[in-house]
Protein backbone atom coordinates (compact mmCIF):
# COMPACT_ATOMS: atom_id res chain seq x y z
CA UNK A 1 0.00 0.00 0.00
CA UNK A 2 2.74 2.38 1.04
CA UNK A 3 4.82 1.60 -2.03
CA UNK A 4 1.82 2.18 -4.25
CA UNK A 5 1.15 5.56 -2.67
CA UNK A 6 4.76 6.64 -3.09
CA UNK A 7 4.70 5.50 -6.72
CA UNK A 8 1.56 7.52 -7.36
CA UNK A 9 3.10 10.62 -5.83
CA UNK A 10 6.27 10.18 -7.89
CA UNK A 11 4.32 9.81 -11.14
CA UNK A 12 2.17 12.88 -10.48
CA UNK A 13 5.17 14.95 -9.38
CA UNK A 14 7.11 13.98 -12.51
CA UNK A 15 4.32 14.74 -14.94
CA UNK A 16 3.46 18.02 -13.21
CA UNK A 17 7.04 19.20 -13.26
CA UNK A 18 7.29 18.07 -16.89
CA UNK A 19 4.32 20.26 -17.71
CA UNK A 20 5.86 23.21 -15.90
CA UNK A 21 9.13 22.64 -17.72
CA UNK A 22 7.37 22.72 -21.07
CA UNK A 23 5.47 25.84 -20.04
CA UNK A 24 8.62 27.62 -18.91
CA UNK A 25 10.04 27.26 -22.42
CA UNK A 26 7.52 29.79 -23.70
CA UNK A 27 8.45 32.38 -21.06
CA UNK A 28 12.14 31.75 -21.61
CA UNK A 29 11.81 32.29 -25.35
CA UNK A 30 10.27 35.70 -24.76
CA UNK A 31 12.99 36.64 -22.31
CA UNK A 32 15.68 35.54 -24.76
CA UNK A 33 14.12 37.46 -27.62
CA UNK A 34 14.06 40.61 -25.47
CA UNK A 35 17.66 40.08 -24.43
CA UNK A 36 18.64 39.59 -28.05
CA UNK A 37 16.92 42.79 -29.05
CA UNK A 38 18.73 44.65 -26.30
CA UNK A 39 22.04 43.11 -27.26
CA UNK A 40 21.65 44.06 -30.90
CA UNK A 41 20.75 47.58 -29.89
CA UNK A 42 23.96 47.78 -27.86
CA UNK A 43 25.91 46.44 -30.82
CA UNK A 44 24.27 49.00 -33.06
CA UNK A 45 25.35 51.89 -30.89
CA UNK A 46 28.86 50.42 -30.61
CA UNK A 47 29.13 50.19 -34.37
CA UNK A 48 27.38 53.38 -35.40
CA UNK A 49 28.39 55.86 -32.73
CA UNK A 50 31.49 54.74 -30.87
CA UNK A 51 32.97 52.97 -33.91
CA UNK A 52 34.45 50.17 -31.84
CA UNK A 53 36.01 47.34 -33.86
CA UNK A 54 33.70 44.33 -33.98
CA UNK A 55 35.65 41.89 -31.74
CA UNK A 56 36.00 44.42 -28.94
CA UNK A 57 32.42 45.62 -29.27
CA UNK A 58 31.14 42.08 -29.08
CA UNK A 59 33.27 41.30 -26.02
CA UNK A 60 32.02 44.41 -24.28
CA UNK A 61 28.42 43.47 -24.97
CA UNK A 62 28.90 39.88 -23.86
CA UNK A 63 30.12 41.15 -20.50
CA UNK A 64 27.03 43.28 -20.09
CA UNK A 65 24.40 40.67 -21.02
CA UNK A 66 22.49 38.16 -18.93
CA UNK A 67 23.05 34.45 -18.82
CA UNK A 68 21.82 32.54 -21.86
CA UNK A 69 22.27 35.15 -24.57
CA UNK A 70 25.76 36.27 -23.60
CA UNK A 71 27.15 32.89 -24.72
CA UNK A 72 26.47 33.73 -28.37
CA UNK A 73 28.36 37.00 -28.12
CA UNK A 74 31.18 35.59 -26.01
CA UNK A 75 31.75 32.78 -28.50
CA UNK A 76 31.47 35.14 -31.44
CA UNK A 77 34.04 37.49 -29.89
CA UNK A 78 36.37 34.60 -29.18
CA UNK A 79 36.26 33.34 -32.74
CA UNK A 80 36.83 36.84 -34.09
CA UNK A 81 39.73 37.44 -31.76
CA UNK A 82 41.52 34.23 -32.69
CA UNK A 83 41.92 35.56 -36.22
CA UNK A 84 41.58 32.07 -37.62
CA UNK A 85 40.49 33.35 -41.01
CA UNK A 86 36.76 33.21 -40.51
CA UNK A 87 34.61 36.01 -41.82
CA UNK A 88 32.20 37.69 -39.41
CA UNK A 89 29.34 35.81 -41.01
CA UNK A 90 30.97 32.42 -40.47
CA UNK A 91 31.89 33.28 -36.92
CA UNK A 92 28.35 34.45 -36.21
CA UNK A 93 26.96 31.22 -37.65
CA UNK A 94 29.32 29.16 -35.51
CA UNK A 95 28.33 31.11 -32.42
CA UNK A 96 24.65 30.55 -33.07
CA UNK A 97 25.11 26.86 -33.77
CA UNK A 98 27.10 26.44 -30.57
CA UNK A 99 24.42 28.22 -28.56
CA UNK A 100 21.43 26.63 -30.25
CA UNK A 101 21.06 23.72 -27.84
CA UNK A 102 20.57 25.64 -24.64
CA UNK A 103 18.41 28.43 -26.03
CA UNK A 104 14.63 28.18 -26.16
CA UNK A 105 14.46 30.13 -29.43
CA UNK A 106 12.81 28.31 -32.28
CA UNK A 107 14.02 27.89 -35.82
CA UNK A 108 12.43 31.04 -37.14
CA UNK A 109 14.16 33.22 -34.55
CA UNK A 110 17.50 31.60 -35.27
CA UNK A 111 17.03 32.10 -39.00
CA UNK A 112 16.40 35.79 -38.42
CA UNK A 113 19.55 36.35 -36.43
CA UNK A 114 21.54 34.24 -38.85
CA UNK A 115 20.25 36.38 -41.68
CA UNK A 116 21.40 39.39 -39.73
CA UNK A 117 24.91 37.91 -39.55
CA UNK A 118 25.12 37.88 -43.33
CA UNK A 119 25.36 41.67 -43.35
CA UNK A 120 27.42 42.00 -40.23
CA UNK A 121 30.75 43.61 -40.84
CA UNK A 122 30.57 43.37 -44.61
CA UNK A 123 29.10 46.72 -45.61
CA UNK A 124 29.43 50.39 -44.74
CA UNK A 125 27.81 52.19 -41.84
CA UNK A 126 24.60 53.24 -43.57
CA UNK A 127 23.94 49.67 -44.64
CA UNK A 128 24.71 48.35 -41.19
CA UNK A 129 22.14 50.71 -39.81
CA UNK A 130 19.58 49.39 -42.25
CA UNK A 131 20.27 45.79 -41.35
CA UNK A 132 19.98 46.61 -37.63
CA UNK A 133 16.63 48.22 -38.27
CA UNK A 134 15.46 45.19 -40.22
CA UNK A 135 16.48 42.67 -37.60
CA UNK A 136 14.92 44.78 -34.87
CA UNK A 137 11.67 44.89 -36.76
CA UNK A 138 11.71 41.16 -37.39
CA UNK A 139 12.49 40.36 -33.77
CA UNK A 140 9.64 42.59 -32.69
CA UNK A 141 7.28 40.58 -34.88
CA UNK A 142 8.63 37.35 -33.40
CA UNK A 143 8.12 38.76 -29.93
CA UNK A 144 4.46 39.46 -30.63
CA UNK A 145 4.04 35.96 -32.00
CA UNK A 146 5.82 34.42 -29.02
CA UNK A 147 3.63 36.38 -26.63
CA UNK A 148 0.55 35.06 -28.39
CA UNK A 149 1.82 31.52 -28.27
CA UNK A 150 2.62 31.79 -24.62
CA UNK A 151 -0.81 33.04 -23.62
CA UNK A 152 -2.29 30.16 -25.56
CA UNK A 153 -0.07 27.33 -24.41
CA UNK A 154 1.45 28.09 -21.04
CA UNK A 155 -1.59 27.42 -18.89
CA UNK A 156 -2.52 24.44 -21.01
CA UNK A 157 0.87 22.80 -20.48
CA UNK A 158 0.75 23.31 -16.73
CA UNK A 159 -2.73 21.83 -16.40
CA UNK A 160 -2.13 19.08 -18.91
CA UNK A 161 0.95 17.80 -17.08
CA UNK A 162 -0.92 17.33 -13.85
CA UNK A 163 -4.06 15.91 -15.44
CA UNK A 164 -2.22 13.36 -17.54
CA UNK A 165 -0.21 12.25 -14.52
CA UNK A 166 -3.41 11.84 -12.53
CA UNK A 167 -4.98 9.89 -15.40
CA UNK A 168 -1.98 7.57 -15.54
CA UNK A 169 -2.17 6.97 -11.80
CA UNK A 170 -5.87 6.15 -11.93
CA UNK A 171 -5.34 3.74 -14.79
CA UNK A 172 -2.46 1.98 -13.06
CA UNK A 173 -4.01 1.69 -9.60
Amino acid sequence: MMVKLIGCIVIIACSTSGGYLLASGYTKRIRELRALQYALQCLESEILFTLTPLPQAVKKIAARLDKPIDKIFAFFGQVLEQRAGYTAEEAWDMAIISARDFLCLDREDLDIIRGFGKNLGSTDRANQEKSFKLVNYQLQAQLVKAEEKRSKNEKLCKNLGFLLGAALVILLV
Binding site: N159, L163, I170
Partner: protein, 65 residues
Protein backbone atom coordinates in the same frame (compact mmCIF):
# COMPACT_ATOMS: atom_id res chain seq x y z
CA UNK B 1 -17.60 -7.49 -7.69
CA UNK B 2 -15.72 -4.78 -5.90
CA UNK B 3 -16.66 -1.16 -5.37
CA UNK B 4 -13.25 0.09 -6.46
CA UNK B 5 -14.21 -0.02 -10.12
CA UNK B 6 -16.99 2.49 -9.50
CA UNK B 7 -14.60 4.88 -7.78
CA UNK B 8 -12.11 4.44 -10.57
CA UNK B 9 -14.69 5.27 -13.20
CA UNK B 10 -15.80 8.29 -11.18
CA UNK B 11 -12.23 9.54 -10.95
CA UNK B 12 -11.72 9.11 -14.69
CA UNK B 13 -14.94 11.01 -15.26
CA UNK B 14 -13.76 13.94 -13.15
CA UNK B 15 -10.36 13.97 -14.85
CA UNK B 16 -11.81 13.86 -18.34
CA UNK B 17 -14.20 16.68 -17.43
CA UNK B 18 -11.27 18.79 -16.19
CA UNK B 19 -9.24 17.95 -19.30
CA UNK B 20 -12.17 18.85 -21.51
CA UNK B 21 -12.56 22.23 -19.82
CA UNK B 22 -8.86 23.04 -20.01
CA UNK B 23 -8.64 22.12 -23.67
CA UNK B 24 -11.80 23.96 -24.55
CA UNK B 25 -10.73 27.13 -22.75
CA UNK B 26 -7.50 27.24 -24.70
CA UNK B 27 -9.36 26.99 -27.98
CA UNK B 28 -8.77 23.39 -28.95
CA UNK B 29 -12.28 22.10 -29.31
CA UNK B 30 -11.38 19.16 -31.48
CA UNK B 31 -8.73 17.97 -29.02
CA UNK B 32 -11.24 18.36 -26.19
CA UNK B 33 -13.64 16.13 -28.06
CA UNK B 34 -10.89 13.57 -28.63
CA UNK B 35 -10.07 13.58 -24.91
CA UNK B 36 -13.69 12.98 -24.02
CA UNK B 37 -13.89 10.11 -26.50
CA UNK B 38 -10.63 8.69 -25.19
CA UNK B 39 -12.02 8.71 -21.66
CA UNK B 40 -15.12 6.93 -22.86
CA UNK B 41 -13.06 4.26 -24.61
CA UNK B 42 -10.88 3.68 -21.54
CA UNK B 43 -13.90 3.27 -19.29
CA UNK B 44 -15.56 0.93 -21.78
CA UNK B 45 -12.44 -1.22 -21.89
CA UNK B 46 -12.62 -1.47 -18.12
CA UNK B 47 -16.23 -2.47 -17.89
CA UNK B 48 -16.66 -4.56 -21.02
CA UNK B 49 -15.70 -7.76 -19.19
CA UNK B 50 -18.31 -7.04 -16.56
CA UNK B 51 -21.01 -6.31 -19.09
CA UNK B 52 -20.25 -9.65 -20.70
CA UNK B 53 -20.59 -11.34 -17.33
CA UNK B 54 -23.88 -9.59 -16.71
CA UNK B 55 -25.33 -10.82 -20.00
CA UNK B 56 -24.11 -14.32 -19.24
CA UNK B 57 -25.81 -14.19 -15.83
CA UNK B 58 -29.06 -12.91 -17.27
CA UNK B 59 -29.03 -15.74 -19.76
CA UNK B 60 -28.44 -18.38 -17.13
CA UNK B 61 -31.09 -16.97 -14.79
CA UNK B 62 -33.84 -16.90 -17.42
CA UNK B 63 -32.53 -20.04 -19.13
CA UNK B 64 -32.29 -18.49 -22.58
CA UNK B 65 -30.00 -21.12 -24.06
Amino acid sequence: MDVNVIFKIGAIGILVAALYLVLKNTGREELALMAALGGLVVVLMMVIQMIGELFENVRTIFQLY
